[in-house]
């Protein structure tokens, strides 16, 4: 037996748990940011020094660090910025993350089904996707709000209705590529059932795309939520949400610059954290990149 093309070395040496953790190269900073975000969302009522909606006109427009009571200052109506930021994290997690997660799941399932089965299922699903992509988001949100009442569920639904289609379209394209690989044909020849082929062969190979779209969408959704709220279609004005805070602050940005700056920075940092985390996750899920280091 010719063994010239065999690699004669033994399997990976066993590492301690610390070694294994180090080998994973976890992105600590993005993880920390996301943990802070989650903590703020979960424990806003304990972490926030003030009620984010209580007015205090005497102390309005306090600059950051001007008063010890209000570390990041106050807005035009004297509401504490820090508290509003912390409660804003809760809104972001509730609305953006929920809508994104639901959209990703629904869009991925539709993309997988559409791409894998093809024929009429593909035609029907993709025309629906086209319709969803072609429909103006704001108009769609208006309709949703008219049917439901303004509030978090309405925004989640409105965002969801536009987001799923992007996932579905991108995932379907990837599925079409992966479907053409021989390992899928071989699995079919072997008699592997379609749901198992989708789960074991197709999905892991389109997960990259899923990660990329998700991390790109986080920012867009936070901004979309802001836009909807700004138009009065989402959260009530004055509600502690980053998008609303940026929108409110822009009217007086030359006078009280911190109103837009802090929530803007929060959005940027969170979006970046999601992007870096998504990048790491994509590399981690790819066996080629995981062991090559």
């Amino acid at each position: 037996m010719a063994t010239s093309d065999l690699v004669l070395e033994n399997a990976q040496p066993q590492l301690s748990w610390r070694g294994r953790l180090a080998e994973k190269r976890l992105p600590w900073i993005p993880i920390a940011v996301l943990l802070v975000l989650l903590a703020c969302a979960a424990f806003a009522h304990w972490l926030a020094p003030h009620d984010p909606t209580s007015l205090n006109v005497i102390n309005s427009k306090l600059a950051p660090f001007e008063s010890r009571e209000h570390l990041l200052g106050t807005d035009v109506l004297g509401r504490d910025m820090l508290s509003r930021l912390i409660y804003g994290a809760r809104t972001t997690v509730q609305i953006s993350v929920t809508a994104l997660a639901l959209g990703a799941v629904i869009g991925t399932v539709i993309g997988l089904v559409s791409g894998y089965w093809g024929s009429w299922a593909d035609a029907v699903l993709m025309r629906i996707t086209d319709a969803a992509l072609g429909f103006p988001t704001i108009l769609l949100a208006l309709v949703v709000v008219v049917i439901m009442n303004p509030g978090p569920p309405a925004i989640i639904l409105a965002v969801l209705l536009t987001v799923w289609a992007r996932f579905a379209r991108m995932i379907r394209g990837d599925v079409l590529t992966v479907k053409g690989y021989d390992f899928v044909t071989l699995a079919r020849i072997t008699g592997v059932k379609a749901p198992i082929i989708l789960w074991r062969h197709i999905f892991p190979n389109v997960a990259n795309t899923l990660m990329v779209i998700t991390s790109l969408m986080v920012g867009q959704i936070i901004l979309l939520e802001a836009a909807l709220s700004f138009l009065g279609l989402g959260l009530s004005p004055g509600a502690p949400a980053w998008g609303i805070m940026v929108a409110e602050g822009q009217e007086v940005i030359l006078d009280v610059w911190w109103l837009s700056l802090f929530p803007g920075v929060a959005i940027t940092v969170v979006v970046l954290a999601f992007n870096f985390f998504g990048d790491w996750l994509r590399d981690y899920l790819d066996p080629k990149l995981r062991r090559a280091r």
Partner: protein, 337 residues
């Protein structure tokens, strides 16, 4: 559409004892034009009346240019496609009438190894997951039983048990093809379709893989349907060779017969186009002119007549039938009528 009843059926060769019998198989693909108002504008006759027998423990090879229908034929045998006409018998049972259980059984007893070992192994699965996939699909086995089977299969194809926990990208082309072979062997199949199993590999690795396949054939009583265009590979591996041209078999013979005494002009041209083993070897040279006609609009009569150096008047009108001129050597050509 010329609907001539299976003209390539080799006379005198009966399908007794054959593991697989293809009888007058056709696969025609409709061609449409336009998007909204689709009109059928023609038919591609990818496979047009093929009859072959694959005997247990033997290798049947299909050779021919690209696009002559070799792969389409194998896809129908693998139940990845259905013939437009004709029937395939597996163990003397027509595949079109398989019950659910028979179908599952068939899926376990027929496996395939494809040309490109980079596309045929899922990059996201470990080697043990790849190899055990057919096993898990067809048998209820404990985790440890699967493990030991995978280890055994890896050794059978010349890899090491510790390779089980690696990912495909960690292997070379030859090793990947060994993994693909181990996967195909896992359910102890009766037939393996080898679609160009070595043409993507380095020349130095080819012989290793071919020898491995030969060893496996004798130790497991395997039948192979080998698809290749490298004639040396075919000569080394086969018990019977079928030469295909435009969806039809034009000559069928054991390899030694075929290479020493080719009868059909297309076979002669094919052999003279391949490099001789010795540079000073004297051979009959046939250089073909023109190109393979489109299967969308094949020439009438013998499909080869526009390129044939020995073309006669009747070639453009009469379809030649497969005739056995010597035992086991059949040709479809008017030169031998």
């Amino acid at each position: 559409m010329a609907a001539v009843a299976s003209p390539t059926a080799a006379e005198g060769v009966n399908g007794d004892g054959a593991l697989v019998r293809l009888e007058g198989i056709r696969r025609h693909f409709p061609v449409y034009r336009g998007n909204l108002l689709r009109r059928r504008t023609g038919t591609v006759k990818a496979v047009d009346g093929i009859s072959i027998n694959i005997m247990p423990g033997q290798t049947y090879s299909l050779v021919g240019e690209s696009g002559c229908g070799k792969t389409t034929t194998s896809r129908m045998l693998l139940m990845a496609d259905e013939p437009t006409d004709g029937s395939i018998y597996f163990d003397s049972r027509p595949m079109a009438q398989f019950s659910g259980a028979e179908r599952r059984n068939f899926r376990a007893s027929v496996q395939a190894v494809f040309q490109d070992p980079w596309s045929s192994l899922n990059p996201r699965m470990r080697v043990d997951q790849i190899i055990s996939e057919p096993l898990i699909t067809h048998q209820r086995l404990s985790r440890s039983a699967v493990r030991s089977q995978v280890q055994e299969l890896l050794q059978v194809v010349g890899l090491h048990p510790f390779h089980a926990e690696r990912y495909p990208h960690e292997f070379s082309g030859g090793q990947r093809q060994r993994i693909a072979i181990a996967r195909a062997l896992s359910t102890r199949p009766k037939l393996i379709v080898l679609d160009e199993p070595v043409s993507a590999l380095d020349v130095s690795i080819r012989a290793q893989i071919l020898n491995l396949l030969k060893e496996l054939q004798s130790s497991y009583e395997l039948s192979y349907l080998l698809i290749a265009h490298n004639l040396a590979t075919v000569r080394y591996m086969s018990h019977t060779v079928g030469v295909m041209y435009l969806g039809k078999i034009v000559e069928e013979a054991p390899p030694i017969e075929l290479f020493t005494d080719p009868q059909h002009p297309y076979t002669k041209a094919l052999i003279s186009a391949s490099l001789p083993a010795h540079p000073r070897q004297q051979r009959e040279e046939i250089v073909l002119t023109g190109e393979v006609p489109s299967p969308l609009n094949p020439p009438g009569g013998c499909a080869f007549h526009p390129r044939c150096p020995f073309v006669m008047e009747r070639c453009s009108t009469d379809l030649p039938v497969m005739r056995e001129h010597q035992p086991g050597h059949a040709t479809a050509c008017h030169l031998y009528d």
